[in-house]
Symmetry: C2
Subunit: 441 residues, 2 copies
Amino acid sequence: MAAAAAARRGRADLEIVALEKGAFTSYSACGIPYLVSGAVEDPEALVARSPQEHRDRSLIDVRTRHEVMAIDLDAHRIDVRDHEHERTYQLGFDLLHIATGAKPIRPPLPGIDSPFVHGVQTLDDGVRLANDAASAALSQVVVVGGGYIGLELAEAFKQRGLKVTVIERDDEVMPSLDPEMGSLVGGAMQDIGIDVMCDCSAAAFEPPASGRGSGEVVLSSGQRLRADLVVLGLGVEPNAGLASDAGVATGVRGGVEVNRRQQTSVDGVYAAGDCCTSFHLVTGEQVYVALGTVANRQGRVAGINLGGGYATFPGVLGTAVARVCSVEIGRTGLTEAEAARAGFEVDTASIESTTRAGYFPGAKPIAVKLVADRNSQRLLGAQIVGRGAGSAKRIDVIAVAITAGMTAAELLDADLGYAPPFGPLWDPVQVAARKLAGANR
Amino acid sequence: MAAAAAARRGRADLEIVALEKGAFTSYSACGIPYLVSGAVEDPEALVARSPQEHRDRSLIDVRTRHEVMAIDLDAHRIDVRDHEHERTYQLGFDLLHIATGAKPIRPPLPGIDSPFVHGVQTLDDGVRLANDAASAALSQVVVVGGGYIGLELAEAFKQRGLKVTVIERDDEVMPSLDPEMGSLVGGAMQDIGIDVMCDCSAAAFEPPASGRGSGEVVLSSGQRLRADLVVLGLGVEPNAGLASDAGVATGVRGGVEVNRRQQTSVDGVYAAGDCCTSFHLVTGEQVYVALGTVANRQGRVAGINLGGGYATFPGVLGTAVARVCSVEIGRTGLTEAEAARAGFEVDTASIESTTRAGYFPGAKPIAVKLVADRNSQRLLGAQIVGRGAGSAKRIDVIAVAITAGMTAAELLDADLGYAPPFGPLWDPVQVAARKLAGANR
């Protein structure tokens, strides 16, 4: 819908049809955990713009519950299934934009399709899960996967007063962080009262016997965990089958390949969001990053180009932030492990500081890790784990510094704001930069 | 003390004597409002390192209650008054570092030296003010001057449950912001229950008759405000008399002139902090900026050079943040007015957004203003006023962007972090950047 709206701003005369399999448009998928926790009560609150608003304001012919079944690139035609009226029809196009998003990874394990195992991707999924979460019969939830979504959903169920266990295949939760930073997150989650089991994967799911009572998650170790409800947080993969079946080229992780203008391998066909790949700003390599910010920006770029304008997508750093109860997490650029895989030799600095001046009420510990190229000293990435407010979004400062090609010494020289409620005199980010710069001067 | 400690790290063999008129070293002057409010109870909590710690850890011969009365640059000698033992002595030096700080501006108005009129600069001042603030006899406080210090102290007294009036000579509080942003701060302060009177200056102070009861502040308009206690928040000026009397060159606002290494006009004499001037990163001009971050950084640079190393101070953007009750304020670089004075023609963009996703509980309004050079589109400055947590420190993102010479379009392209507890999908900073970039594309 970001693309459709941008295309409309570019060209008033385009006929724009938007086909959506579900019932909602332009909603915040990132808000689903807060629907599940009850912090947000009405699913409609997550909808930034309804189908009718798109029709009225942007003259976009939005058709919900309409699913595209196939694309014929030679004939410039798509097959559409109207689930509402149970009919199928064909639609021609001059320009096509593919924004089919991602789908939760569901490994082929026994019982994974039972109704008590939930994947969470669409708002429809979120509404179902929120309804289940509010059910009085629930007491024990198992979250499979300790990434962002897994941990945010763990918090949501914790907020509901339920017993929550997170199982994570890797050594530490948050595999998008280096292990020692993930360990800080895991420790903080334990302190909050969420059970975290690492080095641990699910082998099978046994649903409640009669649809009532508790089911079980069977671990690879043979151990069994009682579970009234299971949520999959194993990450997502591109929902790009429609595009690839039609002959559009795909790349990393099966995502639709696009150039800087979000053009696919096929003339007149664009793609954006979780169904396609991106360029990484640091490595220059093609990557698959499924994030709302990236999707929305790519959509806007595609839409400007679809509308006859000129826009390019600048690439990603994979900047992400999350809050799990009082724990805040931020990351940008490359982890130490990712940098090594990309061929960099790195210097790193890890520091502990506080979110406010040490003497200020409510000051909490914050850990910052910086990763820089050993030769050029250019910053490559950063990770933040804090125990209180004001931690995660400090990552943005480093994201801009990386974008600008700054070294740790240059970040150290930046004139950042200070007052006791916001941090120590030397911002934690700059304490880390000072340590990293000092290691080489 | 930052300079002394850095010099020690550089050279183990230096004999380092530090002379301090007051009783404390290395304290957070920015923490004084929180001492006054009672949020911080023990003045010692504001002391990062005591004289004894400096002696023990850095082998610095710290002499408190010792005041330097005169500097003889030819003889390489200073006159020192030991207030503790009421004696005067002379001390020779090879290298001299001047860090005499700032003093509150006290216009020569009738009654300004009465004991009920407080200036706040040193921790000793802070302790006196905190004691007075805790006195049960107090009910009405007048703060003269609506800048950072004035507003932070207004909050402090408000927290004590007192009636607080702020009087400000300019049209709006926070004259370091453009008027329409200052107006947002003024409005928010009114909502909090702090009286704000703009276009209003004090003409005289009439102390309580017998040292008991209320005094009065007489305004230029003739109006009288009852006041049990008056605090001056009219800003500070360099405390550079000692240096200039000795023949050290001074510049803007009378501050000690220094080069990039914090060297003064006299060989072997350094200066840092609120007593000296700085370079502005955007205009390249000499400016006077009295901020703890700048002072500490300059001290570190001076100390490295004093210790035989090489360091330069990169210049300032005047980045500053403040919290007044729930209102957060941030600014960096040039305001629209400052840019005009520096000769820039500018494009600006002002937007309103929210501190969290709009649907997320606790989302509060945040206003962001960006200022850019009309020709190069480079960002020159920014201002933020928010009604809730997470507002002010967003200024750091823009400070780094300005340091890197970014345009609004480049800031818009940066990959910032997003999750509903931290902001809308498009960060308010980027909503402003988009508006500014859009105006020119």
